[in-house]
């Protein structure tokens, strides 16, 4: 996935299923365009359903933006693994990555929409989380 080096908040999609993660990323691209750095990851290290910290770290790197990165997750393990990945980031990046408490598909689209308008990380997270609040 090619990403522009914009100042827009990056979006990372983490699902237990690589197909869901990729499909959600496709929806974001179609609806929001290419301005927003975007990456997805899904599956465990053996390629089965699940999530893995290394894959999440790689996706954060791919979607990295100076404005920060918002992560959208599906079920429990995706959230725990994402939080673990954030803690393993270098200290200067850690504070600029957040895990959003929002549904993965809708949250990704809304977060990317907010990001494409140039909003800061906190606003991107809030928009994604308010949608279902």
């Amino acid at each position: 996935m090619r990403n522009s080096n914009s100042g827009h908040v990056g979006i990372v999609i983490v699902s237990h299923s690589p197909k869901i993660a990729e499909g959600a990323a496709d929806m974001v691209r179609q609806m929001v365009g290419d301005a927003v750095p975007l990456a997805w990851t899904g599956g465990d290290v053996d390629g089965g359903l699940g999530t893995n910290v290394a894959g999440i770290l790689e996706a954060i790197e791919t979607a990295w933006s100076p404005a920060g990165v918002a992560i959208l997750v599906d079920l429990g393990g995706a959230e725990t693994n994402s939080e673990m990945a954030v803690e393993m980031l270098p200290e200067d990046r850690r504070a600029r990555v957040v895990v959003c408490n929002a549904p993965v598909v809708e949250g990704a689209v809304i977060a990317a929409t907010e990001s494409s308008g140039g909003s800061p990380l906190a606003a991107v997270k809030r928009s994604a989380e308010e949608f279902y609040a």
Binding site: D44, V45, D46, G48, L49, G50, T51, N52, V53, A54, L75, G76, G77, E79, T80, N81, E83, M84, M88
Partner: protein
């Protein structure tokens, strides 16, 4: 408690074999109330740990525990990877190279608190904390290996009638009642394997 290289390797093998040997049982427990991958995930993680022997056991105890934790975090997947991995990593961070029993009690306390923070959970929610917390009380209270292992097994059993509040089983609501929590079972197996290989020094 002194743990030379041979003892460290014995400990790692015992922990790993307890997970690999019970993978099917853990999977069937998880099929009842989770997504059925716990046995496979723990097996994969501990096979990866075994693959780092013999070099792993060359490391001093704190470094060895941190390395085990990191391998589990990276390889287990699911929520268990970060939870169990965090336990080992924090244990490693908190322990001196030649820990006395009091050091071990203090370190397990810190590690359990880190697991609570990672899972944003407390005992009583049908998770591995329902084993770790009561076992820690027995351990801190001076219980010997036998008492610790017994409490671990009983604590896992006590999760059967509990209602799941955290984790995938919480989606099932009341249907989670009547099944043992797979994470509690794996925690009790790991504790049983650990205490069976460790000799606690009296009053040290």
């Amino acid at each position: 408690m002194s743990l030379d290289r041979a003892a460290r390797e014995k400990l790692v093998r015992a922990l790993a074999l307890s997970m690999i040997g019970h993978a099917d049982e853990l999977t069937s427990l998880d099929q009842a109330i989770g997504d059925g991958d716990h046995g496979l995930n723990m097996k994969r993680g501990f096979e990866a740990v075994l693959a780092t022997l013999p070099g792993l056991a060359d490391k001093p105890l704190p470094e060895m525990l941190k390395a085990i934790g990191m391998t589990l975090v990276m390889k287990v997947g699911g929520a268990s990877g970060p939870l169990v991995g965090t336990f080992f990593m924090e244990l490693g961070k908190a322990l001196p190279e030649q820990p006395a029993r009091a050091d071990l009690v203090a370190a397990t306390d810190k590690a359990i608190n880190a697991v609570k923070a990672r899972g944003r959970s407390e005992a009583g929610q049908k998770t591995l904390l329902d084993v770790l917390v009561p076992v820690q009380i027995v351990f801190a209270g001076g219980g010997d290996a036998k008492a610790i292992a017994a409490e671990a097994a009983q604590a896992a059993d006590r999760t059967t009638p509990m209602l799941a509040i955290r984790g995938r089983a919480s989606f099932l609501g009341e249907r989670s009642i009547g099944h043992m929590d797979p994470g509690s079972r794996s925690a009790s197996l790991l504790i049983g394997a650990a205490v069976a290989t460790l000799e606690f020094e009296e009053n040290s």
